[in-house]
């Protein structure tokens, strides 16, 4: 079976000479959730626009489900649903009609029961006769998702799906994404929120300056690049780290009231926490609190971008 999405050396140069994409190659298997992370202007939206037919590419090829987006655009686009970043909706259209329009444009007959199912799942059923401009921002976002799902796509692109969305709706959105994955839908989402990628993505792709820096399984990436820190808060401030603790590479934390111990997590190395704590109390420190903190994908991301720069 061909990969659901196969990008080969996709390049995009704007007429003003800006290289938005500098040869992106990417394969995404069916049923996968891939999160594309990257700063503003990295090329995430450009990449999605090219795959979906909204932008043209300067060079390279894109296949969706084995269909070339240029030569076999009907078959390719039939498989794709897209949720844009902007809340682009006809303000005077009714919610139900928005979905019907989308379905119709993809050449499918009415399918009222399908649309009812989608509206219910997105908690929009009660709003089906409301006009779009009467809805809140979060609800509009749902309508966009509903439109993208109206023709039952096999690949769903979510461009910043949770930008400006409240916590509850975000959780809702994640649930929807997981449900879709269970039904076999392939999902590509772009995001600034790293915890989002961490929470739902199978793989993470980091894109910066028009290039893919890496694509790796989320867990493996966390494993490979993750760090752990233990913060030992003390009753009394510490002026100098005693000689007996030098082997641990400790540094002093805020207001000199804590000691910070960094260690690589899950990498098979013994962190030696027990001996550290024993040695700390032997050095005469009184502990107030102990916390551990695992580096998030965000830290990894920042590190990666710094390395790339």
């Amino acid at each position: 079976m061909p990969p659901m999405l196969d990008l080969r050396d996709v390049r995009k140069t704007y007429p003003n000479g800006t290289d938005a994409l500098k040869g992106v190659s990417l394969r995404i298997e069916q049923g996968e959730i891939l999160a594309l992370l990257g700063p503003n202007g990295a090329g995430k939206t450009t990449l999605i626009s090219i795959i979906c037919g909204i932008s043209t590419m300067t060079a390279g090829s894109v296949e969706v489900g084995g269909h070339d987006v240029a030569t076999d655009f009907r078959a390719a686009r039939q498989l794709i649903g897209i949720v844009p970043q902007e809340l682009s909706l006809d303000p005077f259209a009714r919610v139900g009609n928005c979905l019907r329009l989308s379905r119709g444009l993809f050449g499918l007959p009415r399918g009222d029961s399908t649309i009812e199912g989608i509206l219910k799942k997105l908690s929009l059923w009660d709003k089906r006769d409301n006009r779009v401009h009467e809805l809140s921002g979060g609800m509009k976002r749902r309508v966009l998702i509903g439109k993208a799902l109206a023709h039952e796509p096999k690949v769903l692109f979510l461009d910043e799906p949770t930008a400006g969305v409240d916590v509850e709706l975000r959780k809702d959105m994640w649930r929807t994404v997981r449900d879709l994955k269970e039904q076999g839908t392939t999902i590509i989402l772009t995001t600034h929120y790293i915890d989002e990628a961490e929470a739902i993505a199978d793989r993470v792709g980091v894109i910066s300056n028009g290039e893919i820096l890496l694509v790796e399984e989320t867990e493996a990436l966390m494993h490979r690049m993750g760090r752990k820190e233990m913060i030992i808060e003390l009753q009394e401030p510490v002026d100098e780290i005693p000689e007996s603790l030098s082997a641990y590479g400790l540094r002093r934390g805020r207001n000199n009231r804590s000691l910070v111990y960094s260690y690589v997590s899950m990498a098979g190395k013994r962190p030696g926490i027990t001996s550290l704590l024993t040695d700390i109390s032997a050095a005469g420190f009184v502990l107030r609190d102990v916390q551990t903190r695992q580096s998030s994908l965000e830290d990894i991301f920042v590190d990666l971008l710094r390395d790339a720069a």
């Binding site: 909706l89 006809d90 005077f92 019907r100 119709g104 444009l105 050449g107 007959p109």
Partner: protein
């Protein structure tokens, strides 16, 4: 062909017409009635007949052409400009629709709407003046071709326009003057000889003349030339639309 897709664009565009029925259909009828009252009475009182046709009847084809061209351009340009403006164009571009299908949907709906308006104005005209239509088939053919070609033209303007001002620019600054000077309210033969030559450079002359010929059998230029002119204009617009979609000009980045 994605027939359902075409039908969907057409249906939703027509639905927009019914949703804005006052603006879409009633207002052109009212403004045309005003033309009748003002021009028919004021000028018709002095010029009773033009080439054996009463002045009131003489201006009917020109009035219909005035509305049909204006409406076609404004309907079609707005129809494609709005999705660009509010951003919903992404859906059109990412749907499995070829550009021919998109054009059929939008231009078809805009042309239908202006055809309906043209026919309503014709029906309204019967209330004001006694009318004869010598060549009903050619009357309809000219009207339909005008609606189609000017809807295509409007579609191009809608894609070209970057803001609402540009959207209004061509209809107000080019089309209205050309129709007014294109023999909607007079016969070219009424002009001094020098101006008759100038008038022949106005493309609207051919349109209005052919359409008037279908009513009364009298024309400033031969109906064959009129037909050729309008077919040529349609072909030209089709060529431009084809180029727009091939290059993605002002549609795709």
């Amino acid at each position: 062909m994605n027939w359902f897709g075409i039908l969907t664009i057409y249906r939703f565009e027509m639905a927009r017409t019914w949703r804005t029925i006052w603006q879409s259909i009633v207002s052109p009828v009212i403004s045309t009635s005003l033309y009748f009252v003002v021009f028919g009475t004021a000028i018709g009182g002095r010029i009773t007949e033009v080439e054996s046709v009463s002045y009131g009847a003489f201006i009917v084809p020109g009035l219909i052409m005035l509305s049909a061209t204006m409406q076609s351009v404004s309907n079609a340009s707005l129809a494609i400009y709005l999705p660009k403006f509010i951003g919903t164009i992404y859906e059109l571009l990412s749907a499995p629709l070829s550009y021919v299908e998109i054009v059929i949907g939008y231009v078809g709906a805009a042309a239908t709407k202006s055809l309906i308006i043209g026919l309503i104005i014709l029906a309204t005209a019967f209330l004001f003046v006694p009318l004869q239509i010598l060549h009903p088939f050619w009357m309809l053919a000219f009207l339909l071709l005008t609606c189609l070609s000017f809807s295509l033209f409007g579609f191009i303007i809608g894609i070209w326009a970057k803001d609402f001002e540009e959207l209004q620019l061509i209809p107000l600054l080019v089309i209205t003057p050309l129709v007014f000077l294109g023999g909607a309210f007079f016969s070219v033969s009424m002009l001094p000889p020098a101006w008759q030559t100038v008038a022949l450079f106005n493309p609207m002359i051919y349109l209005v003349s052919g359409f008037r010929w279908a009513f009364f059998g009298l024309a400033d230029v031969s109906p064959g030339i009129s037909l050729t002119a309008i077919l040529g204009f349609t072909g030209l617009c089709m060529g431009v639309v084809w180029w727009i979609f091939r290059t993605g000009w002002r549609l795709k980045t």
